[in-house]
Amino acid sequence: MIKPFRINAQSSGVRIGRLAIVCSLLIIATGCGKDSDDGDVTNTLAIPTDIVLNLFCDDIGIATETCVLDDPDNPYANVPFATANPPPDDEPGEDFNRAKFALAAAVAGNPKATFYVYATAQARAPSGENQWYTARALHELYTATVAAAPPGSELIREQTIRAYRSALDNYFDSATFFIAGFLPAPPPGGVAYPVMLRELTASDLAMTPGAFTPLFDPADVGNNEFIARETMGGWGYTWVGMLDGPAGPLTLPGPVYRN
């Protein structure tokens, strides 16, 4: 069977269609290309050196909140660096892989910048390690505010506690790796050993690292431990306490249980 050809008379729909095509071509023709002078040259960024932290959002630096990536004070928001420890095989380049700790080390003593490094890592790749380091940076920042103007920033103190709690609530089974620097003759590259982050977190809250200000009772370390244990209990955790390690000088935080 042969199919006869047929051409329909142009309807108004056809004319509209043709007009739409022509209009779109004009729009595209006038908009083509990406000029080389578009955009802003941004080769360097200023690193904050102050200790005033305006929380860009309530949960900045905590769990999966990513507002730190939009924080205009955060110089690391768009800076590429590896976020895991150790970085996965897929992430390239030694410089890149070391960047999280390298960047933090480069701003050692600048707790606000350190906070932005780890909070950025946490926002990009939420993990127990990034969360704990973020909490630690906040803790250091709180200590700096106490030193600058006692009793320090209550806002930062509370945010520090929230960040530590997040490490327990959200990353209870996470670990980090430390280099065993206490070994008398470590091999090249050192020996890495894992530590449970929940135990480091509990220790930080209750025992407080030497240079940091206790979070619950700045004036009384013993009372701070008591309040910290009680507070953690209220969150649903029991911390056994500090243990002597098998290798003499090593003291390890004891296990933490969920109640």
Binding site: N8, I21, S36, T44, I47, D173, V240
Partner: protein, 1050 residues
């Protein structure tokens, strides 16, 4: 002795009996071998056709058999004798009951079957050499457009017909030999002299060559077989003056005519009968006429419409027969056609679906004609529908109402009844009764069809796997082998709660699940998994691992349901194959095709999943699609398309389409093992297609995509500077144009594509096995061109593609802190953290050339199912594609632990090449071999590798007598078979797979047959292989597995 004598006598008598029987058989055979004498007779009352001296009236059908899922390339007579006989017994048994006296077939019915049909059913056959109508082999080369003026062509066609005539000379059952098929509609060759004539006269001059050749061939044929009747198959009575000039002494004239319910137009004083009588004075046999059984206006099957038109036509044919007082030149005809053919619309697509698209218009069929709309439905002309598949593998014919009406009409003898009696008999036909009979047949056809819910069938598969690793076998010998078994049951159900709602679904049930070390397989969902179990302990909650067995033993494998309303169809679908809209105005490929169900099954993916609204009547052209995953990997989305202008029906003129797609959310899980999910987005497109009368086609399209990304920042390198920019409106725009010349299968084209940074489209349409590096992503300016050089049986197809990016990929520059400042660095983008990324859309200069040898272009070598369709003894292609990737890419991503992850670095700039070849062998009926070879260099699709891969692979399949299937697949230095292995650069030195399957229902297709089989896998391992396979620094250098299975289909 007496006994022996008796035995000897008996033997002697028996011998005489056998000898006599053989002689009688031989004599009978000789008598049967004589051809029937067919003549025409004429006196004052008109013309008659006579067979062996008795009146004969042609009451018949155009007959052909094309199973669901096949098209014009299906070779019925390449099937087994048993199958052919079963089919003929079914078809001609039904036709004989209706009173059919003859059939006409487009394919050559072998002489033995012509005779079988005649002797068994009393039905004669019109042998119909097409004589170059759809191309011809001239000097061993297939010429697609026949030039009837070419002396060489004329001689070749003549010789071909004479061979036919010789072949059928003494064959009982041949009614006549008819030449061509509407050949007057195919006068499209070019020649210098003719092209200089005014357009209106060009074809007339060409027609002279056609009709003079017809006459020349007929005269020569008469010399070969003087007793035979010869005619032609003319398209209506076009060029009747030429026929009168060249066909003065032809026996009769064969005509295909579709004029509606009559061959006359009394209002305008037009009569086919009168014209033929006055100008030709030859009797007429209608080689085709009829009506479709689909009402395009109501968009529903219309048995009454078809039956009433056929009644009217036959009443007129009878009244114009011998002795009825009118022209008396009607000898009968062949209704087009016996059964529906589901391949006719678009011919290579949707072959398992009866398309309801009206593809041309004919005002003669007033029961569904609407001015300006098409009303002829090519796939609905059957007097019988295509029914269920029988146990013998035959799609049964299900008669429509027209069958009953014709059966009643054909009881009458037009030569002897006289016109009043004929009119009375036909006028008194109670059409309502036949309509009711049709309804009752529907109800009685099969009780199960009217059941609201029924079990349709299913399959059971049992398997047994033997597995081993080098390390275990070396240490423990046979004890190092492991044995696992599995069982799976599928049950297919159908439902039809109302006449407008119907559907089906499959339930999958697992027993044991056999885990293969080589294959990801459907059913793996049932593997045990380990979960963390929390319990109260002395010091609080204690976590422990627990293994869950017997998981997900039952699931719905697929589901579809359709609601048919007057103005629309609504279809719900879940994991059933669906096609793209690339030929319906989706120029940018937004709706991707989902047909790889097996590929999905291994990940237990369930796309496509959603519903579709398809408008009809006033809403024709409107489609709405929405769902959680309307194609594999899709975000939950809604999509609207409206096609207008020439619509889906015109072959010339303009077509337009507008389309809008909006993601509703981002999917939360990978669609496979580790394919990254895609950010939520939206796209809108417009499209215009213009088909010119000279065969050229211009397609234009515009796209706006990713407008939600406007304002998003991205960085790039400009010289030594890092520049931060943001997405603007112009970055969301794209434009695409394609200009093509020539018919679809041999065209030249040029195309360009501009796409702004975020103007991502969908799947580009890669045609003719092209390996050009197309990309769906934006950020590109692209030009492409190709020209198909065709000299049958050879085809050379060179194509080139060049692409540049508007913005290049980013390098990795690590950040550095310098005093109070941070040198912030830059890294490769990825599609989650950046508004766009340079991935497979990277800069490319690519060229390719394909060479094809296919002596039977009817089975187009680049059809998707050519492996099983190619009918040439040998056909092959070989293609070379070379691509220079001049830049690195940004970072690809993978999905793991519930989120997308970046590979962090891009693929390096590289030159890659690929040679691939397909070879198909059909040395004899029942033996088919397909080979595919690939070699070249390639990169990973995700994780950067240190070296570009140089690989070689060959796979093949041999099918013997529809019983035995042998398969082999060998890969050297190639990725594993799954996408994730290419994504993660997992390479094996050697991979081998051999398989054998024995089909148990040899008359059924490979897909439908029960079978048993065995597969053997072997794989060498090294440090580049998947770590999960456990190379263990050389302790495991290989792994192997044997799978045996039995699959019962019912």
């Amino acid at each position: 002795m007496a006994k022996l004598s008796c035995v000897a006598s008996a033997k002697k008598i028996g011998g005489v009996f056998i000898a006599a029987s053989l002689m009688l058989f031989a004599l009978t055979g000789q008598a049967q071998a004589a051809a029937d004498k067919v003549t025409t007779y004429k006196d004052d009352k008109g013309w008659k056709l006579m067979v062996n001296g008795e009146d004969f009236y042609v009451k018949g059908f155009v007959w052909d058999y094309k199973p669901v899922g096949t098209n014009y390339t299906y070779d019925l007579y390449g099937q087994s004798e048993e199958f052919i006989k079963n089919l003929i017994d079914h078809e001609f048994g039904l036709m004989a009951k209706a009173g059919v006296t003859a059939t006409r077939s487009f394919v050559r019915v072998p002489p033995k079957w012509v005779t079988y049909i005649w002797e068994t059913y009393g039905i004669m056959t019109v042998v119909n050499p097409l004589m170059g109508r759809y191309g011809a082999v001239i000097d061993g080369v297939f010429v697609p457009t026949t030039d009837y003026s070419d002396p060489k062509t004329r001689e070749a066609l003549k010789q071909q017909v004479l061979e036919f005539v010789e072949m059928y000379k003494d064959v009982p059952g041949v009614l006549m030999i008819a030449l061509g098929n509407e050949s007057n509609y195919g006068l499209s060759w070019s020649s210098f002299e003719i092209e200089n004539l005014p357009v209106g006269e060009q074809n007339r001059e060409k027609a002279k060559f056609l009709y003079s050749l017809f006459d020349e061939v007929i005269q020569a044929s008469r010399e070969v077989d003087p007793e035979r009747i010869f005619t032609i198959v003319n398209g209506d009575i076009q060029y009747i003056d030429l026929i009168a000039e060249y066909g003065k002494d032809w026996d009769l004239i064969g005509i295909n005519a579709y004029r509606g319910i009559s061959f006359e137009d009394k209002e305008n004083n037009v009569s086919l009968w009168r014209d033929v009588k006055e100008k030709l004075d030859l009797p007429i046999v209608f080689m085709e006429f009829g009506s479709d059984a689909f009402n395009a206006r109501d968009f529903a099957e219309d048995q009454e419409g078809q039956a009433s038109y056929l009644r009217g036509l036959w009443q007129e044919i009878y009244s114009k027969s011998y002795g009825n007082g009118a022209e008396g030149n009607a000898l009968g005809g062949f209704v087009f056609e016996w059964r529906d053919e589901w391949w006719k619309y678009r011919q290579t697509e949707n072959l398992d679906i009866q398309d309801r698209t009206a593809s041309w218009a004919n005002g003669g069929y007033k029961f569904d004609y609407v001015e300006g709309q098409n009303n002829m439905n090519e796939e609905w002309f059957g007097v019988a529908r295509i029914g269920d598949l029988s146990d013998e593998g035959i799609y049964l014919a299900e008669p429509r109402m027209a069958y009953d009406v014709l059966r009643e009409i054909w009881r009458n003898n037009p030569y002897s009844m006289g016109k009043p009696a004929i009119d009375q008999a036909i006028n008194e036909l109670d059409m309502e009764l036949y309509s009711l009979k049709g309804v009752i047949r529907e109800l009685n056809k099969s009780k199960r069809d009217s059941e609201k819910f029924r079990l349709e069938g299913g399959s059971f598969k049992g398997e047994y796997l033997i597995q081993g690793f080098d390390e275990d076998i070396s240490e423990d010998g046979e004890d190092g082998l492991e044995f696992v078994d599995g069982q799976m049951l599928d049950l297919d159900f159908a439902f039809q709660p109302t006449s407008r709602i119907k559907g089906d679904f499959t339930i999958n049930i697992l027993a044991n699940v056999a885990e293969s070390n080589f294959e990801q397989r459907y059913g793996d969902r049932g593997f045990p998994i380990t979960v963390e179990k929390l319990e109260d302990g002395e010091f609080g909650v204690v976590a422990s691992d627990e293994t869950l067995e017997d998981r997900e033993r039952v699931e719905i494998y697929d589901f579809q349901a359709t609601y048919t309303a007057d103005d629309y169809d609504l279809e719900a679908f879940y994991h059933v194959p669906r096609y793209h809209w690339g030929f319906e105005g989706d120029f940018f490929g937004l709706l991707r095709e989902t047909t790889d169900m097996e590929g999905q099954d291994i990940w237990n993916a369930k796309a496509p999943y959603g519903f579709e609204f398809a408008g009809k009547k006033d809403l024709l052209g409107l489609k709405i699609l929405a769902g959680p995953e309307v194609y594999w990997g899709a975000n939950p989305l809604a999509m609207v398309k409206y096609e207008f202008g020439g619509g889906a029906t015109s072959t010339l003129g303009q077509k337009y389409a507008v389309m809008f797609s909006e993601d509703i959310a981002q999917r939360s899980d990978s669609s496979s093992d580790s394919e990254a999910t895609v950010r939520q987005s939206r796209q809108a497109t417009i499209y215009s297609r213009t088909d010119f009368a000279n065969g050229a086609r211009l397609e234009l399209g515009g796209i706006i995509a990713g407008t939600e990304k406007e304002g998003d920042e991205y960085d790039r390198i400009e010289g030594d500077d890092i520049v931060v920019d943001e997405i603007e409106f112009e970055d969301t725009l794209g434009f695409k144009a394609k200009l093509a010349f020539g018919p679809d299968d041999r065209r030249a084209y040029v195309a360009m594509n501009y796409a702004g940074l975020v103007a991502d489209g969908g799947d580009p349409l890669a045609e003719f096995d092209s390996e050009l590096p197309y990309s769906a992503l934006g950020n590109k300016q692209e030009v492409e061109a190709g020209i198909m050089l065709y000299s049958n049986p050879y085809m050379l197809y060179p194509r080139i593609l060049y692409r540049e990016n508007l913005v290049d990929s980013n390098p990795l520059i690590a950040p550095v802190t310098v005093g109070p400042n941070l040198s912030n660095g830059i890294d490769p983008r990825n599609r989650d953290e950046d508004p766009f990324a340079v991935l497979d859309n990277r800069e490319a200069s690519s060229a390719e050339v394909f060479f094809t040898y296919d002596p039977t272009p009817g089975s187009w070598f680049y059809d998707w199912d050519i492996d099983m369709k190619e009918d040439a003894p040998f056909a092959f292609n070989i293609g070379l594609t070379g691509t220079r990737y001049g830049t690195d890419t940004d970072a690809n991503q993978f999905f793991e632990n519930g989120v997308n992850n970046s590979f962090g670095a891009g693929l390096a700039e590289e030159d890659v090449w690929l040679i691939k070849s397909k070879m198909i062998f059909n040395p004899r009926p029942g033996l088919r071999t397909i080979l595919n070879l690939y070699t070249g260099t390639k990169q990973s699709s995700g994780k950067p590798g240190e070296e570009t891969l140089e690989f070689f692979s060959i796979d093949g399949k041999m099918i013997v007598d529809q019983k035995h299937i042998y398969g082999a697949d060998i890969k050297v230095d190639d990725f594993g078979p799954y996408d994730f292995q290419e994504q993660f650069n997992l390479v094996y030195p050697l991979q081998v797979k051999f398989e054998y399957a024995r089909l148990l229902d040899q008359l059924l297709s490979e897909e439908r047959s029960s079978r048993w089989g065995v597969k053997f896998f072997y794989r060498e391992l090294d440090e580049l292989s998947d770590p999960a396979d456990g190379f263990k620094d050389g302790d495991n250098e290989y792994m192997m597995e044997v799978q045996t299975y039995f699959e019962l289909k019912f």
